[in-house]
């Protein structure tokens, strides 16, 4: 069981690291190519028209989405690092969990705004697989993080209490 857990944790760490690298490269690529794509792509042009305000809003929305997602990935990377080093109830984990919660909160808000914009430009059916939108999944993740944060907080208190028993 210990070996399986070690393998799983290692795999998850590798997956998160791959996510950070790939999203980092994708973000830099979008930063450069994004404006060209948004303003010249015939499909987006057909859907949005020549509404510059919405096009700019979408561009910055995607950029912010990417940055927040990367921020959350870094927080997850820190938690996994500490858990791999067997530092379960460490103050660093609390900070990382707070960062993760913050990123899920921003992702929920951003995806909510996206859903509204998509409804506004009538592209909901083409962009959303789930009728309730991805923001619901982010919101559930935020709640899970909040609950895990409380468990970690209690764990940290118990750890401190245990450390003060000699």
């Amino acid at each position: 069981m210990k070996k399986i857990n070690k393998f799983l944790l290692g795999s998850i760490q590798a997956l998160v690291d791959f996510g950070i690298i790939s999203n980092g490269l994708l973000g830099i690529y979008f930063l450069i190519v994004g404006p060209v794509y948004i303003f010249t792509d015939p499909i987006s042009f057909k859907l949005i028209g020549s509404n510059l305000a919405i096009e700019f809003l979408l561009y910055f929305d995607i950029l912010l989405f990417w940055a927040v997602f990367l921020y959350g990935c870094f927080a997850l990377h820190n938690i996994l690092d500490n858990i791999n080093l067997q530092k379960y109830f460490a103050p660093a984990n609390m900070i990382a969990l707070r960062k993760l919660m913050f990123s899920f909160l921003i992702l929920t808000i951003l995806d909510g705004i996206n859903t509204v914009i998509n409804h506004f430009i009538n592209v909901t059916a083409q962009l959303d697989f789930f009728p309730c939108g991805d923001y619901y999944a982010y919101f559930i993740s935020l709640i899970i993080c909040y609950l895990v944060y409380f468990i970690f907080k209690r764990g940290l208190d118990l750890q401190n209490e245990n450390n003060s028993i000699i």
């Binding site: 209490e161 003060s164 028993i165 000699i166």
Partner: protein, 67 residues
């Protein structure tokens, strides 16, 4: 309240804090916390080692004071 008389017992046995900490396997800082009564608790294992090294009973180290 529970009072810790570790300092008195140590003096009787003529053992220094540094020496005792090394014998028990705890840091001198933790021994100081224990000596000054600032520790929240003491493990049976630590108490066992203390009694063994200081050649005393747990009651010699810990005393109950009603005031």
């Amino acid at each position: 309240m529970i009072k810790v008389n570790l300092g008195v017992v140590m003096e009787k046995q003529g053992i220094s804090s540094k020496e005792l900490a090394k014998e028990i396997g705890i840091t001198p800082a933790n021994l100081s916390i224990l000596k000054t009564g600032k520790a929240k608790g003491i493990r049976f294992a630590t108490l066992n080692k203390l009694c063994n090294i200081l050649n005393c009973q747990p009651g010699d180290i810990l005393k109950y004071d009603q005031n």
